[in-house]
């Protein structure tokens, strides 16, 4: 083939602007489509048309929730991109709530804002108290992140263990601390602190504040990761830490930065969370949120192996998760949270699988090899049928409803079985290489041509299949 003057391949069609954009932001495009699809499905099956009747309220609610999740998911995502993991987000959220509210109580005492019993009055706080409390909380986030970095880079603890210790320890510390703080600043040793100041409460309750904060954080981190040497170093460390170190990158300093971003974004989310719930309750605040952050990052295209992922993907991952949760709440009218875990789990697995497929080589992936595959075809069939039956259940034991449940379960199980068996059969067909090995010499000419055809087809698919993923990886490779 000859190259044309523009450096393209003669005869090949130059990719359009749209397809270039898709190649570059395949994960983001996929997530946008998925978000749109979930909303459309929710609109179609919600009998009360909540999204159509109250579009503004529902949109702002989803954005508000997604922003708070997105803020600390971006921090968790940067740690993942740099090859680490941060399990402490949930506990940092709880702890930072305690710190912020404790500082507010202390500063109220300092400023003489107390009632006649000596208890701090947390309504109508002067602005400087909020500024000091929020700054101090972010400072504590920095200290926690620095501690993680020290444990990981100096003490050489695995990131999983270092941040697991914080996951357990910080919440406990918060629970103990809050009682002592209450004992010192108020007349009793409560396990919660409530703040009644309207400005503070508006931080997490007014939808636009978390959205603006999330947008600013996203812009800063997007620029950091996309357009700075430091960002490229973080990708490089995540891709191959040894190679990065040997090429002169100061991996310790970059990890310090990554873990501080992780904990400071969690602290920022903790302030918004505390504002949203009206105070600090460390025994339950942010419980399990570290997994939400990791889920949002992974759905957004981050690889847990490190070196892959984008800020825009993480933000869209957070929006996708919140849209799914909200859609379940809108469509399953009774106890939606019982179904949320099941449905969110299912969609997270599918989204990540879809992402993985893009970066792997399409047809060559075998999902159902051998006996393990057969067992899992059966288990997935049963699982999908069961899910359909459970979701169809309405708690009424009438015969008609039982029949509906059974029908739905059998229908979905049947479709699942058919799809999976088809896939299994597709995987079982001889590939070009297998055909070459197994074909007698006398049939060489014929098999050569078919193998060649297969190879070239496979090669073509590889090029085409790699389009979005390959483009993205190449792009990120350049970043690195």
């Amino acid at each position: 083939m000859a190259l044309n003057s523009a450096g393209g391949i003669q005869g090949a069609q130059a990719p359009s602007g749209l397809s270039r954009l898709y190649s570059r932001y395949a994960t983001e495009c996929g997530l946008l489509i998925a978000i749109f699809a979930v909303i459309v499905i929710a609109i179609l099956i919600d009998p009360t048309n909540a999204y159509l009747e109250k579009p503004w309220y529902n949109a702002t609610e989803i954005l508000r929730h997604a922003s708070i999740l997105g803020i600390f998911a971006m921090g968790a995502g940067i740690v993942i991109i740099s090859g680490g993991i941060d399990l402490s987000s949930g506990s940092v959220i709880a702890f930072s709530g305690v710190i912020c509210c404790s500082m507010i109580l202390g500063l109220c005492q300092f400023a003489g804002l107390v009632d006649d019993t000596g208890n701090p009055v947390t309504a109508n706080l002067p602005g400087w108290i909020l500024v000091v409390a929020i700054s101090g909380t972010l400072g504590v986030g920095f200290i926690v992140g620095s501690f993680h970095a020290w444990l990981i880079t100096v003490v050489r603890l695995p990131p999983f263990i270092a941040t697991l210790a914080s996951l357990v320890g910080l919440r406990s510390l918060g629970r103990v601390l809050i009682q002592d703080v209450n004992r010192v600043f108020t007349s009793n040793a409560n396990t919660q602190i409530y703040i009644r100041d309207a400005t503070y409460k508006s931080l997490g309750n007014e939808w636009y504040i978390p959205v603006i904060i999330c947008a600013v954080v996203a812009l800063v981190l997007f620029t950091l990761m996309r357009s700075t040497v430091t960002g490229r170093h973080l990708y490089a460390i995540g891709g191959n830490e040894d190679a990065a170190r040997l090429s002169g990158i100061s991996t310790e300093k970059k990890k310090w930065l990554a873990y501080c971003i992780g904990t400071m974004t969690a602290a920022l989310a903790g302030i918004l969370y505390s504002s949203y719930v009206g105070g600090a309750m460390p025994d339950r605040d942010g419980l399990g949120y570290e997994l939400n952050a990791i889920a949002a990052a992974v759905v957004g295209g981050c690889s847990l192996a490190g070196g892959l992922g984008t800020i825009s993907g993480i933000v869209l991952g957070a929006i996708f998760l919140r849209v799914v949760i909200d859609a379940v709440a809108k469509t399953v009218k009774d106890n939606p949270d019982e179904f949320q875990g099941m449905i969110v789990g299912l969609l997270v697995v599918l989204a990540v699988t879809f992402n993985e497929l893009r970066s792997q080589k399409g047809d060559r992936k075998k999902f159902f090899p051998g006996a393990l595959g057969i067992v899992n075809i059966i288990s997935l069939t049963v699982l999908m049928g069961l899910v359909a039956m459970l979701v169809t259940s309405d708690g009424d034991s009438s015969t008609d409803d039982s029949r509906d449940k059974l029908f739905a379960g059998c229908l979905v199980a049947g479709i699942t079985f058919a799809v999976l068996v088809a896939r299994k059969m597709f995987e079982s067909r001889p590939t070009g290489e297998q055909a070459l090995v197994s074909t007698p010499i006398t049939a060489n000419a014929q098999s050569d041509s078919s193998a060649g055809g297969s190879s070239s087809e496979s090669g073509k698919q590889e090029i085409e299949g790699d389009g979005p993923g390959g483009g993205e990886e190449a792009d990120e490779g350049m970043d690195s």
């Binding site: 529902n58 719930v277 105070g279 339950r284 106890n335 999902f367 309405d394």
Partner: protein, 375 residues
């Protein structure tokens, strides 16, 4: 070209959406809807009355049965109303999230909520926002902070928890006339019902009783058991164990049984979970102050339906039972003190006018008559 793997994963995605589409529209779980007139399933149509719990426990199962009975008796479906019990996870945020979620729906007509934390004004703020949208809001079982946020709901339906605590305190006093040292065990120490019951218990038990500890478990039953063990380990002079929330009773009995120290403790508890009833049969609990969650569910639905449909007669009938305070917004669903069938020192003890003292066998008969296993 569309690779087979993509086709496969898209198929699976579509399949998942089929699962959702097949089921979601029908709702799940705890709907107590009855078919609407004309035989059509009202499914998601019409308006909803939502009973929002503070968490999960058999207590709420009994309340749900009451709500179901009310839906059937009062023919809520004919009024275009569907009764739903929605379960919180014991967290303030969970409840705030749900209340905000209701604001985004157009089919919520009434909410009866058991407040997780009375001191949290953010929950009251969300109740006010719901009320602004025309949703009728009442509290059930656990009220808001009556000093600051009384305006955020129309009425409270449940036990007078201060009174309930006092009555359980009286039971402890009857069992140990010379007094003792007690520890209290509860889910959320900040919940109004917890604060009121614990305070009431101290008053009812009198000066001879001293509180050594007050443990909160956040709704985690494993922690509830750990708390009992810690209390016993830390206080050699502890002799009275007080369960404030329903699941604290079995937690206390489990640990006391494990330690084989039944004779060292007087055990008095709130509520009667099925397992707690068995424990009393086996001589492991000395007295139970039993609320009436069935009535809370029933009366909650009755009041909400009356408010939504502006049924003045029904409201007037309920108001007659709401005259215990100046504000006339507390509907007392009554209290039972349950004692073992034989050998209880409380057999002769006198309780308050609003208390119905029953032996265990009479109580279980009453439960059977209501189709309940616990209360």
């Amino acid at each position: 070209m569309f690779s087979a793997s993509r086709f496969f994963s898209l198929s699976v995605l579509l399949l998942a959406l089929v699962v959702l589409a097949v089921g979601c529209g029908k709702g799940g779980g705890d709907s107590t809807a009855t078919p609407s007139p004309g035989g059509s399933d009202d499914g998601g149509a019409g308006k909803r009355i939502i009973i929002l719990t503070n968490g999960t426990s058999p207590f709420w199962d009994a309340a749900k049965i009451g709500a179901q009975e009310a839906a059937a008796d009062l023919k809520t479906a004919e009024a275009g109303l569907r009764v739903v019990v929605d379960t919180n996870d014991f967290s303030d945020k969970g409840q705030i999230d749900k209340l905000r979620s209701y604001q985004g729906m157009s089919d919520v007509a009434g909410v009866g909520i058991s407040i997780t934390n009375s001191g949290n004004s953010s929950i009251a703020d969300e109740l006010r926002k719901l009320a602004k949208q025309g949703v009728k809001v009442i509290t059930i079982d656990s009220d808001i902070d009556r000093k600051n946020d009384r305006d955020s709901r129309i009425a409270y339906i449940g036990t007078d928890n201060v009174y309930g605590g006092e009555e359980l305190g009286k039971a402890a006093k009857g069992l140990k006339p010379d007094g003792g040292n007690y520890a209290t065990f509860v889910g959320l120490k900040g919940a109004a019902n917890a604060i009121e019951r614990i305070g009431g218990f101290g008053v009812g038990a009198g000066d001879k009783f001293k509180q050594k500890e007050n443990f909160g478990d956040g709704g985690d039953q494993n922690t509830a058991r750990k708390n009992v063990r810690d209390a016993i380990d830390r206080n050699a002079d502890l002799d009275t164990l007080v369960g404030i929330w329903s699941y604290n009773a079995p937690a206390i009995v489990d640990i006391v049984t494990q330690l084989k120290r039944r004779k060292d403790f007087t055990i008095v508890t709130f509520d009667a979970e099925p397992i707690a009833i068995d424990h009393m049969k086996n001589g492991m609990i000395d007295a139970m102050a039993v609320q009436n969650p069935h009535a809370m569910g029933y009366e909650g639905v009755r009041m909400l339906k009356a408010l939504i449909t502006d049924d003045k007669d029904a409201l007037a009938a309920m108001e007659k039972r709401m005259n215990r305070t100046e504000e006339k917004d507390l509907f007392d669903t009554g209290l039972k003190i349950i004692i073992p069938d034989e050998g209880s020192p409380l057999a002769e003890t006198k309780f308050g006018d609003n208390t119905n003292k029953l032996t265990l066998s009479k109580f279980t008969e009453w439960l059977k008559s209501k189709g309940l296993q616990g209360s």
